[in-house]
Structures are given as C-alpha cells and as structure tokens.
C-alpha cells in the first residue's frame, strides 16, 4: 500500500518532530553526517498512543557541520523538514517523532534525508501499522518455542499462525548468557533494571507486524535456582539439620531478598517492554512446586510459630504429609481436629509457608508496575495439594495435562483449576488450560513389538522418548476443555506438533495432529472463541471433594496427574453428570448448599468442621457418594468403589462405563426430585456438558467412543482412534429453539417430558456445540450512519433479535465484515461474541482510507441470518 499525501496534510495529521537539542546554526562546513534510527520498533498498532521512532544524526567527520537539513518523507511525500544545529565532530543529535497510527493499516516507507554541503545521505525504513485485535479473542498459546537457528521471525511464527495460534512464549534473553546477564543485573542492583536484550525487543516488535503476540517467561526465583542470581547460594532451603535438602536447588520463599528480587524482575520486564504491545502477557514461574521443600531457617520456624502458636511438629519430614497409620492414637473414625498440629502445619506450608504463592504474586505485581496490564498465568497450578492459593494472584491459573489414557482427564484437571481459582485472593482470577502435545513414549508405546510396528516406530530412533499425541485424543481433549469456561487454551510441544528439526527429545511422529488442531482452532475457536470466553458455566448439582486433609494424611491426591480420584471423576462424567471439584475450604464456605450430591473418593481423613458440614448436608437431604477409603466417621448413601487398575485401556474404560451405569441406577430415583441432570445422552460414550448465559444454554457433546488404532493402539495402552457413534443428546429444558453453532443453522429437535432431544451421528473424536434459546432467532440488524468522513469515527450497532424483535439475552456469535469501496476487508472485521445480543463497534476511518460506498455486513452464526448496510465514506 502506498500513501501519497500533501505536506500540509501530513504536517497536520501525522508527525510531531521533537528536537531534543537546540543550538546555534552555523553554515555548513562539511558533509559526512550519518542518519540512523535508534529505536527498535517498526510496527505499530492502529490508534496506538505515543507510538514513536527515535533517530540519531551523527557527525562522523573530523570537522563541525552546520547548516544541515533533515527531511523526512513518507511514501515519497515530503512531510517534515528540519534545520539541524551545528554538530561538532563525533556529536550526536537525537530526534524522536511520533507515528500517526491513525493511518490505514498497511506498510509505509519512511525515508530520512540529510542534505549538508551539497552532499546527501539517506536512510529508508518500512513501518507497518497493524489492525487492532478484536475484543474477547480467545488466546491460543504455544507454550514454549525453540527460537533461534536460521529461521526468520516469519519462519518462526508463520507455521503457528497457520494453525491459529495467537501467542507464543519467549524468554528474557535470546540465549542463556543473555538471560543470565539480565537476572544477575537485577539481583546485583537490588532494584528494577529494564534492560532486556535488543534481540528480544526486536522479536516482539516483528511479532506485532505479523499480528502475533508473545508472552514473556517471568521466572525470577527459578533464575536463583539456576544460580544466575544469588551466586553465593545463601537463599537455599535447609532441612532440620541445616543441610540443603533434596537433589535440586530450592529457593526459600520467605527470604526478603528473594521476594524483592521477584518484584524487581517483574518490574524490569514491565518497564523494558512497556512500549511493545505485542508482548501482552507473562508466564509467572513454572513447574516449581514439584520440588518445593520443607525449610527450617529460624525465620521459617518463627513464621509458623506466629501463625499457629506452636512449633513445627516433629512428625513433619516431607512436603506431602504424614501417613496417619504411623501416628499414635489416631482417631478410629479418621475425623481429626481442625487445629491438629500436623494439619495446621501443612495448611500453612502449602498456602504461605513455602513462599511460592507470594513469590508469584510479587512477580505479577512487578509486571503491572509500568502502568500497562500484562495478563499473567502460572502453571502447572495443581501440582500442589487441594488448598487455595496455588498461583498467588496471577490473572489465570493453568495446568498442563497429558491426556492418556483417557482424554476426559483434561476435564478433571480443568475443573480442579476452577476450584483453585475460586479461593484466590485475586477475586478476578480465572482459568486457562494447556494440553501437552508431547506424550511419553514409555507410557503409551513402549518397546516396539516384533509382530507389529507403526511406520513411525520404524522411522524414529528406538530411544526417542517423546512422541506426538494422537489427533483424535487431541480433539477430545480440546472439546473437554472448551466445554468448561476457560479463558484461553495452550499447547506445549511445538517440535512434536510440527516438523521442526533438529529433533532431540521431542519427535514429530504424527502429521495429522497439527491438521486436527488447525481445524479445531479455525472452525471453532476463531469464530466462536469470543462467545465462549463470555459464557459462564451452568450451575452444577454434583460436588466432587478433593480432600486436602486426606492428601496430607493418607498420601492421596491427583496432583494434576491421572491418579487420585481421576477414575471416579470419569465415572461421574460417563454417568452424564456435570460435577464441580470442591475443596474442603469450598465446603467450609457453605458451598454444599448449592449441591445435591457430594462425591467423596479418597477421603480417608477429614477435619471435624468438614465432617460436620457433610453430615448437615446429608441431614438436609443431600446424597453422599463414598468409596472404599472413606473415613468411617462419614457414612455414604451410595458406595462406589474405585475402578481397579488395569494394564489394558479397553478393560479400564469398560470398568468406568460399568460403574457409571451402576451409579446412574442408584441415583435415578432421585433425579426427578432431588437432582436435575442438565444434559444427558442415550449413549454413554457421548459426553455432554452445559454452559449457560441469560436465557441461553450452550450444550456441548463429544464422542469418546474409541478403539485401538494403528498409531499407538497396538500397544494396548491407549485407545487412540475415535469411532463413529450415534446418540440422542438431551437437554433438560421443556422447550426452545436449537442452533448448531458449528454450522450456523437451526436444528429440528423433539421435546418431551421436559427434555429436548437432539439426534446426531457423531464422527470419530467429533464434538458439537448447540445453543438453545427460548424464542426463535429471527434476524440480525445493522445500524450505522449513511455517511461518514475520513479521519473521523463512526459507530456500528448490531443486534441479533428474536421473533419479538428484541435482542436475544445471550452471548451471540456474530461475524462482522467491513468492506471499503474496493471490497477490501477493513479493521474490526472478524468474529465477536455479542453480549445480550448486541454489539457496538466504533470504527476510526483513516485519513488515507478510500472514499466510496462501504459495506458493513453482520452474520449471526447461530441461525445464519445476515444483513448489511451501506455507508458513504467521503
């Protein structure tokens, strides 16, 4: 795109040139002035405030130079001319000008010309104005990226954009020495040092030009563990004997210097990246609580004494509790006092005593200190016991999940995250969810069989440790997580998702997986993501307790892996129940009032207050489902033993389905009066889930019928291939109109006995999403002025209306197309989630936009109705 404009126009609209030095103007004595841009940025967001480029004029001669003139042109049109002061030999003159980001999105050539003593030197750069991202876009984050090598930024990001990724993770330095230098500088200064490597800044700037975002890896405490900060290692944890525990360095989170350092590192990044809008987010620490250790500094002991009024109990030896069987006089009913010293200690340790939650908070606060909000997340959040606080006050808690052998484990860990976020001291904390594309080969496809090998097993080395997850499992994991109200999705394992040599630990063994992900992101997240991020969950009537006390006294807990109560949770899902994970703290808040069924698996030991709440719940009619490990002090109404371990994936799933049938049989008499199942399926392989906003239900259904395929299935450990299945999916709603949000059309269904029945033939690994509204969607309306002037704003109002002409009280998916007179797609075209059925867009017409008849078109993605409006742009 070329922009030819008058000098006066540009002077009026575009550039403010500020001379930072002034002086006596002497006649030109010599040429040899050099002009160069000193700022890194070349790419700017449309309407970005304060966007500027820094220039420097350098006198490289041995003589003073005076009378020089600096001229700037934009796309060959002169727009500024400046007489420079005299420059002595070696002098530098700095100038910074603001870029008018109100221009139409596109590339522009910006040229600087110096004329001095008859000679001319010039410098041209290309700047790019890019469209702003649309509101409520769901982030699709590539967690981890092997930056470097010979790849250009386009080559590094292009393949990710093609799949639909919006973000990738980057580090604070282009290489390890760079990262180390940054951390060391901040540690030694004892204050923020906003000096991130120019290579990283350039990467961030170039990413913006590609319409891509980056997230910074902010892990200050880990840099201490790497020995980049605190080289004297005075911050390490110590055991009772004063020795360093464990095999790995573990920083003590209660040391003031460490806490300050975390804030300063966050603040350093925030300041250094303040003017780089493509860097909009940060990962705060990662994978640190797996190896947290007890610590026995004097200040640790004193902190606990202050908290509890007692010393650290002598029985405490490790982070994950003390086996109750080893404790004398343990109550036979396994109901213990709330202030049991050991319980008190571990509650303190995991909430505040190990320091990590506060370190996350401090890092997060540092990252916000430059006046621009960077959204932050922590993972893997639930590699910690089930007690509130993991993640501190970051904006999002996340967790990565290996979804073998059953993709619905994704749902369990996602629901677990919601339970954790519910108790955060950041009341706005929410949830994102990551899928690990890499799978441990040893767990899913160990030593190759002689009788049968997949092609990939012949192609990769026998000791290749990590392989690509199967496409159908990725699809089911995807549906499992987006059927929950997550605010973003993430994937890890770029080198297993894409062919990205050199291959070392991560191997690319299935090319279909990326195609599946691309399809899911392009067909579901891009059009429907802005809707999904705004639709809350439906109220659940089943609670699933993850008992912190049992984790500490009986070694229970899933810790984000497949253990603990995972199988019991899967049984609930196959029984077509929609449980919430709750913690003991949730129960103590009175949450059981909202539920009708409470599931207690692996709840060997409970505190008295929780036991009292459970008994009160039963006394008020609530049904308790227990297992073989339930504390004898609680008597279950229904006993559901945990599925027995099996080495065979098909046998294991058969067990889950069988137990689901048994549970349904037990609960069925109560469903009508005491438990309202929101959704159902006549085929237990079709898992259902409901979200709700306003008058609308959003019904998800995905086909978990699987068999052993020819990728890894022949090992018998994972049923990796989806199989078609038919089902009648039901929504507990007497009447309504059903819309297929994937196809954008109304669906004919039947309604009887208070249920709506939707028959569907599912493909292997397929998921569906229907929206149900009480009234029929009739139309979409577009309101905009008949005329608009370039350089000014105009407002577009869109509404999706029902047969009464009222905006639908729902989050409505809408596609908007804004076309100029030439039919080119303009900024703000794309997908929206229209809250309460309405949408308002303020469009800023650029002074260099094309006049003519513009078109604004809106398509309602539920019913498929569309309208357009013409605007004369003058």
């Amino acid at each position: 795109m070329k922009y030819v404009c008058s000098r006066a126009r540009i002077l009026a609209l575009i550039v403010l040139l500020t001379l930072t030095t002034t002086g006596w103007i002497a006649p030109a004595a010599a040429a040899g002035l050099e002009l160069r841009e000193t700022s890194i940025r070349r790419n700017f967001l449309r309407m970005e405030k304060g966007a500027r480029i820094q220039w420097e004029v350098f006198n490289a001669t041995s003589q003073p130079v005076s009378g020089a003139v600096l001229k700037f042109t934009l796309d060959e049109g002169l727009f500024q001319e400046i007489r420079l002061p005299e420059l002595t030999p070696g002098a530098r003159h700095e100038a910074g000008h603001f870029v008018d980001t109100g221009l139409r999105a596109g590339d522009y050539e910006l040229k600087g010309v110096i004329e001095a003593a008859g000679s001319v030197s010039e410098r041209a750069i290309t700047i790019r104005i890019v469209e702003r991202p649309l509101p409520h876009r769901m982030p699709v984050v590539m967690w981890g990226h092997p930056w470097g090598g010979d790849r250009t930024i386009e080559e590094a990001i292009g393949p990710l954009k093609a799949i639909g990724f919006t973000h990738a993770l980057t580090n604070t330095g282009a290489d390890e020495p760079g990262r180390k230098a940054f951390a060391t500088a901040v540690w030694e200064a004892g204050k923020p040092v906003p000096e991130i490597s120019p290579a990283i800044l350039r990467r961030v700037d170039e990413a913006l030009g590609l319409g891509f975002h980056l997230s910074i890896y902010a892990s200050p405490a880990r840099t201490i563990e790497y020995n980049w900060a605190d080289p004297d290692r005075v911050t390490h944890r110590i055991d009772r004997d004063g020795e360093r525990p464990g095999r790995r360095y573990s920083v003590c989170g209660l040391i003031d210097e460490v806490r300050t350092f975390c804030y300063n590192m966050g603040a350093s990044m925030a300041e250094a990246l303040r003017d780089y809008p493509a860097l909009d987010s940060a990962l705060v620490h990662t994978e640190i609580r797996d190896h947290t250790e007890l610590c026995f500094h004097d200040h640790d002991r004193e902190a606990f004494r202050q908290y509890a009024g007692i010393d650290i109990p002598a029985e405490v030896e490790k982070t994950k509790g003390v086996d109750y069987r080893q404790l004398d006089a343990f109550p036979a009913d396994r109901i213990i006092a709330d202030d049991h010293p050991i319980l008190t200690y571990y509650r303190w340790f995991w909430k505040q005593g190990d320091g990590w939650n506060d370190l996350h908070t401090l890092t997060h606060q540092g990252l916000q200190s430059a006046g621009r909000h960077l959204w932050t997340w922590f993972d893997p959040t639930i590699r910690a016991p089930s007690v509130w606080g993991s993640g501190g006050e970051v904006d999002y808690v996340s967790h990565w999940t290996y979804t073998y052998p059953n993709p619905e484990v994704m749902g369990f860990s996602t629901d677990d995250l919601f339970a954790m976020a519910r108790g955060s001291s950041n009341p706005d904390q929410d949830v994102m969810k990551m899928t690990n594309v890499i799978w441990y080969r040893s767990a899913v496809a160990p030593a190759p069989r002689n009788d049968r090998q997949a092609q990939w097993e012949k192609d990769v080395p026998a000791d290749a440790p990590l392989i690509t997850m199967p496409p159908d499992i990725l699809a089911l994991s995807f549906w499992s997580k987006i059927s929950r109200p997550v605010k973003g999705i993430m994937y890890h394992g770029l080198q297993s998702l894409l062919y990205w040599p050199p291959q070392r630990d991560y191997w690319y063994t299935n090319s279909e997986t990326k195609d599946t992900l691309r399809h899911l992101v392009k067909e579901i997240i891009e059009p429907l993501g802005p809707t999904l991020v705004q639709v809350p969950d439906a109220d659940a009537e089943v609670a699933f307790l993850k008992s912190f006390t049992s984790e500490m006294f009986a070694g229970r807990g899933a810790y984000g892996w497949g253990g603990g109560g995972t199988n019991a949770y899967l049984v609930l899902r196959y029984a077509q129940l929609q449980p919430d994970v709750v913690y003991e703290e949730t129960i103590l808040e009175g949450a059981l009032d909202d539920y009708r069924v409470l599931v207690l698996t692996y709840c060997d030991v409970l505190p008295k207050s929780v036991a009292a709440k459970v008994r009160a719940f039963q006394a008020s009619g609530g049904i308790v489902v227990g297992d073989e490990y339930l504390a004898p002090g609680i008597i279950a109404d229904v006993t559901m033993t945990n599925p027995k371990p099996s080495g065979k994936a098909d046998a294991q799933k058969a067990q889950l389905l069988h137990k689901a049938t048994e549970l349904r049989a037990a609960l069925n008499p109560y469903l009508r009066r005491h438990l309202r199942r929101r959704s159902d399926s006549d085929n237990p392989d079709i898992l259902t889930r409901v979200r709700h906003y306003g008058v609308a239900d959003y019904l998800f259904a995905y086909n978990d019928k699987r068999q052993f395929g020819d990728y890894i299935g022949h090992h018998g450990l994972v049923m990796d291939q989806g199989v078609p299945a038919q089902a009648v999916v039901k929504l507990h709603r007497a009447a309504g109109h059903v819309y297929d949000l994937l196809e954008g059309r109304r669906v004919d269904v039947t309604a009887r006995s208070g249920w709506m029945h939707i028959a569907h033939d599912f493909g292997g690994g397929e998921g569906r999403l229907w929206m149900i509204t009480p009234r029929r969607i009739k139309d979409v309306t577009v309101d905009a002025p008949a005329t608009a002037r370039r350089g000014g704003p105009f407002t577009i109002t869109i509404a999706v209306v029902d047969d009464l002409g009222k905006a639908v009280n729902a989050i409505m998916p809408v596609r908007v197309e804004i076309l100029d007179g030439d039919g080119d797609t303009m900024e703000f075209s794309g997908h929206y989630g229209a809250k309460d059925g309405t949408l308002e867009i303020t469009f800023d017409i650029a002074p260099n936009d094309k006049p003519g008849e513009w078109t604004v078109r809106a398509v309602d993605l539920a019913a498929g109705t569309q309208r357009e409006r013409l605007i004369t742009v003058e």
Binding site: E628, V638, Y670
Partner: protein
C-alpha cells in the same frame, strides 16, 4: 429382629399415633424414594429413640439409598440402636451390613466372633472394613494375627493389600518416574538378579507368615528354586520367594534412584527389600504378563548384600516369578 418384627412395630406406632405426626408417617411410605428418605431424616432428627422402629423398618426399603440412610441414622443414635444394628449385620444389603459394622464398632459392641464372621462376608468392602478394624486393634492377640493372615489371602486385592500393610513396615513409595513425571529418566546402569539360589515355600495361611519378609528369617528349610520360570505347574495360591543380591558401592554409580524391575510375575506380587515393604503389583489375573517397577532407592544397602522377599499369588494356570528381575540405576535428565 426380622423385617416382619419391625413392620409390626411400625404398624403399632401408626395405630396409636404416638410420637410422630401422621402426615410425616405417611411420607415414610410415599412412592417416591426421595420423599421417604427425607421423611426418615426428619423423623430421626425430631423424634430420637421414637424413630427407631421406623429406621429399623427402612433398613428393608426397596431403595438402596433409603436403606443406607436409615442405617446411617441408626449409627448416629449410638448405643440405643445396638439391637437394631446387630440385626442389620444380617441385612440383605451389603452396605447396610457395612454401616452396621461401623456402628457397632463405634459403640464398642463388636466381638471377635463378629469380626471373624464379617471376614467371611461376601461383600468386599465389609471385609475391607473388618481388616481395618483388626489392624487398628493390633498389636493384638493371636486371634487377630490369624484373622489378618487369612485376610492376606483374600480374593479381593483391596483386602489383601490392607492386610499386608499390617505386615509391611511402611507403604509403597512413589517411584523416581512418578516423582519426576515431566522429566526424562535415563537408565545409567543395571544388573539382573541371579535366576538361581532362591528359596521358596507355599502359603496356606496356617503358618506364621508374618516374619517371612524379615531379612534374618531362617529359610533354610524352604525349597531351593529358580526364578525366570513358572513355579510348579498348576499350583494355585500364594507362594513366597526369598533371595539375595549384591549392590555395588554407591560411589561407582552416578544415579538419582534405584528401581527393581520385574518383567513378569504371574500374577500378583508384593515385594520387600531388607525387610521393608517396597510395593506391590496387584491388578488381578491380567497382570500376569504386565511388567512393573518399584522404587527401592531408600531400601537398598550399597556395597553389601541385600535381601529380597516376594510374595506371589496365582489364581489360575502357571504362577510365580517367570520372567527376569533387574535392578536399574536411574538418572533424572
């Protein structure tokens, strides 16, 4: 007391109209089990001992949740429900029997005969609960030991595991792989246990197996045997292996952990190293050809001789340690 007796008591209560309001009593016999259950809860809360006949009757309700709710409410009534709970030990609903067992235990009304009988119950969870009660009573008398040994041969792996824990000195520890699931684990060295030189004996639960895992136990009268092949064809039951292996000096191996890897035990196994419980492999008959590994990092003695005991159980066809056993030295990458 039989179901009929309880029904008579309830009928009498209805006729006399004593205690409970007629409307509430009607709800006890409503068609909807949810209504019956809620009425039971309210009757128990409001009427105390007067509710006993109704709760006793509800133990025979056609709906399982109503039955178990009644049992739970009886348990909460303490000693006054002693007779009803004793009767409930014969209830047709296994979970009601289990709740009754817990109730009787809570009021200290269980006898050793009750426990012995409960160990014969067809319900796995009731037997499991019984074992837990026995373990909690230990160190007890010889009768308890005998009952626990019997339970260690139970058909249910849950019951077996619980009984064996009373023999073991500690629970299974997470393996290095489990501790570092997000890390690659490299085997830096390994050696195979000798196939020869093992001792073996079968276990008919009549002998004092409680000491067989101790390193200093005198096994000289046990049969000499080999591993890496099934035991005597056709033997179905429990067999114990005892063997020894040498560990190198720790300085020779740069590793983060040690595991013992079994290529196959037909079909379940419990393992002790130097008298300490390492863990088990007990996934039922399908486990006969499933390899497994146990963490023994903290159990082995470096640069010396180590004793290993394996209790193997077979429920059909061949049995025993029929595949090689390897000690692996692991490094976290």
């Amino acid at each position: 007391m039989t179901k009929l007796t309880w029904m008579c008591a309830v009928a009498a209560a209805l006729v006399t109209g004593s205690g409970v309001a007629q409307a509430q009593l009607k709800e006890l016999y409503a068609a909807d089990p949810a209504v019956r259950r809620q009425a039971l809860v309210e009757v128990a809360a409001q009427r105390g001992r007067e509710a006993l006949p109704h709760l006793g009757s509800a133990l025979y309700d056609e709906d399982r949740i109503v039955r178990r709710t009644a049992a739970r409410l009886l348990l909460r009534m303490g000693e006054s429900a002693d007779d009803v709970l004793k009767a409930a030990m014969n209830n047709i609903d296994a979970q009601v029997r289990r709740i009754a067992l817990l109730g009787l235990r809570s009021i200290d009304a269980l006898t050793m005969d009750d426990l012995a009988l409960a160990l014969e119950d067809e319900e796995e969870l009731l037997r499991l609960e019984t074992v837990r009660i026995l373990v909690a009573m230990a160190p007890g008398n010889e009768r308890i030991e005998v009952l626990l040994r019997r339970a260690a041969g139970d058909d249910s792996f849950l019951v077996r595991e619980e009984a064996l824990k009373s023999i073991a000195s500690s629970g299974r520890r997470p393996t290095l792989r489990e501790q570092h699931m997000d890390r690659l684990i490299e085997t830096v060295d390994s050696f195979k246990l000798p196939a020869e030189g093992w001792r073996f004996r079968t276990d008919d639960a009549s002998a004092p197996s409680g000491q067989w895992h101790q390193p200093d136990y005198d096994d000289s009268d046990w049969a000499v045997t080999e591993i890496e092949k099934p035991w005597t064809p056709g033997y179905v039951g429990v067999g114990w292996y005892r063997g020894w292996f040498e560990m190198p000096p720790k300085s020779e191996i740069n590793c983060d952990g040690v595991e013992i890897h079994f290529d196959g035990v037909d079909e379940s196994a419990w393992v002790w190293i130097n008298g300490r419980f390492a863990g088990s492999h007990d996934i039922g008959p399908s486990g006969w050809d499933v390899p497994f590994a146990l963490d023994i990092t903290d159990l082995v003695n470096w640069d010396s001789r180590n004793q290993i005991t394996v209790r193997a159980m077979n429920t059909g066809y061949a049995g025993g340690i029929w595949q090689p056993v390897t000690v692996n030295f692991l490094k976290v990458k």
